[in-house]
């Protein structure tokens, strides 16, 4: 018996900012779970919460001839007519994989659809959600905060940023889902935390709720002047979420032996190659012995730092040391609009879509 399996497909490659109607289409499909034949290690999951992440924009690009593609998770592109892929919380409803049984709650890469048929390579990176923990922690937190959403800032800040008490960190897109956590982890580690965001409401939140040492609205402030004012001893760690001209200006304020954690460059994702901002002062990287290091959160899965993250975060959340915001959108019908809105800067914290009840 077939059930509804609406899914969001890519209708057209966005050239600039994605548009919900023009580039996406919610297709009324069905899935016959009972009669579906599963290959070895495959599973079928019912999706509960889908996380809306800016990196998904990367998978929506037309192949570019001058660009030599490397097959990392984030660079796997979606073709026209295919369902968009993201991460989320789901329930296993059919399994041919010894690691999962029907009824298990799992976290991993799924389609933006009601049910996903997961092939063995993706099933290998799914992780279980302990149902016991749901007494203390809402299930949605696994989509937004407790899995990749928290591992991303934690693992990268610790392993690349190497924060030392008393140092100064500057976080761009500081009111993004990632930025909020970076700032709070840095405060726990004893750093001076300076952040920027694109609205006064966000700046208020950073200063008054999260107790950042300084925060400013980058749309109303000259970044160079703000960094001179708020980071008078220079920047020891730059947590890079934005890229482009921001990076160029920040480099001028970076100290000798400073670290740049390259998490993302959201200001550049929606620009075609020739309109991207060219950074001119990379010479500073050797003049000041700077380390600029990129990462993709999946590289930390299954490593020691993931265990430390889970231990620290559970403790910090219970102790109220980590404050969190998530925005829950109801229904897969609204997923395209939710995604497009990531790039207008209105959200504070992670946006997730509730696809079904649990």
């Amino acid at each position: 018996m077939a059930v509804s399996n609406k899914g969001l497909i890519l209708k057209e490659y966005p050239k600039g900012l994605p548009n919900a109607d023009k580039h996406f289409e919610l297709v009324p499909r069905t899935i016959d779970i009972k009669n579906l034949n599963l290959g070895e290690n495959e599973i079928v999951v019912k999706n509960i919460y889908l996380s809306l992440d800016p990196y998904v924009r990367f998978t929506l690009r037309e192949p570019e001839p001058e660009y030599v593609s490397v097959d990392t998770l984030l660079e796997k592109r979606v073709s026209i007519g295919q369902v968009i892929i993201g991460v989320g919380v789901s329930e296993v409803v059919k399994t041919n994989n010894p690691n999962f049984k029907v009824g298990d709650l799992v976290y991993g890469p799924v389609g933006w659809e009601e049910y996903s048929h997961i092939k063995s390579d993706f099933a290998a990176i799914f992780s279980p959600i302990n149902k016991e923990s749901l007494k203390d922690i809402p299930l949605s937190y696994y989509a937004s905060l407790l899995k990749m959403g928290g591992l991303t800032p934690y693992a990268s800040l610790i392993s690349i940023g190497k924060p030392k008490k008393g140092e100064t960190i500057y976080v761009s897109a500081a009111a993004s889902a990632i930025g909020l956590l970076v700032g709070q982890i840095a405060k726990i580690k004893g750093l001076k935390v300076v952040g920027s965001a694109g609205s006064d409401e966000k700046v208020d939140y950073l200063l008054n709720e999260l107790k950042f040492d300084a925060a400013f609205n980058y749309k109303k402030t000259d970044l160079n002047k703000a960094l001179s004012e708020y980071c008078p001893n220079g920047i020891d760690i730059y947590y890079e979420n934005v890229g482009g001209q921001t990076l160029e200006t920040v480099l001028n304020h970076c100290n000798q032996f400073s670290r740049i954690v390259v998490c993302g460059m959201i200001s550049q994702y929606n620009l075609p190659f020739n309109e991207k901002y060219g950074v001119k002062n990379l010479e500073i990287i050797f003049l000041r012995s700077i380390t600029m290091q990129g990462f993709i959160v999946s590289q930390y899965l299954g490593t020691d730092i993931q265990n430390e993250f889970e231990k620290d975060f559970t403790e910090w959340i219970k102790a109220g040391k980590i404050v969190y915001r998530e925005k829950v959108i109801d229904g897969i019908e609204n997923i395209a609009e939710g995604f497009v809105n990531l790039f207008d800067g209105r959200n504070i914290g992670r946006t997730i879509v509730k696809v079904s009840d649990y």
Copy 2:
């Protein structure tokens, strides 16, 4: 009694390529060594070999308002009328420093002049040259190869590049003093070595004398195509000497978890800020988890890696595993021209100036 102490001073800040007559002047000064009063830990040295290094171009810049200066050795600027500072091999002729006695041969930062009066901060980074070793090794090698000249490629390639047998390294400005050594160290470590240089003569040298696995003339070749051809498995280590558009093209060929050793960006040194090349594809740094790390050779002085370098290099030179080229210019009269010629790409290996006999 005063003796001649001709010195090369900065006459005018070069805006683009430096010009020997326009920007420099050899001034006929004298020094009265006997009657000179030395402060604590100061020394006077007679210069023997001066090394001509492109980084010196950095010290010849007018203070730029938008540029927040950090006081590293390489960023210390020379003012109009001051003597240019570089590194070289010298003999101590007067001393008020317990670490040095008259007649010692030393290596460290000195003026481009016949005699230099060394203040205590600079004296602290001078290192001794063992006279015993001169039986096997010419003194000039200490200016070109055995001190910073060899430590630069060795320490950075090992500690930042983390070379692993079977990996592919691409070296730009591969026939530069640094590049020649990077390629040879990488061959010793079992890597596939690909290099580029600006003349067919240099390419011949890389292929036939140094046995690089591949080399090409970047002035006659499309870099993107050449990298696709010679690095079919992508680049694991990019040894960056050139910067600008080269970096942009190389990034497209970098593998996941590859390392970019940022030694220098010589193509950008002679350009005013607004003419520098803006690199547009830095997003690849996080998409492929790349580490891009800069360094200044002085940071390795006095560390374990300096000892390993001296041990390995002495052994490799004696075993003929490292082949070396230096160009010796005679007389301080020719130093400005020698320096200016670094940027025309004619030299293979280090250029040094012989200022006095030993």
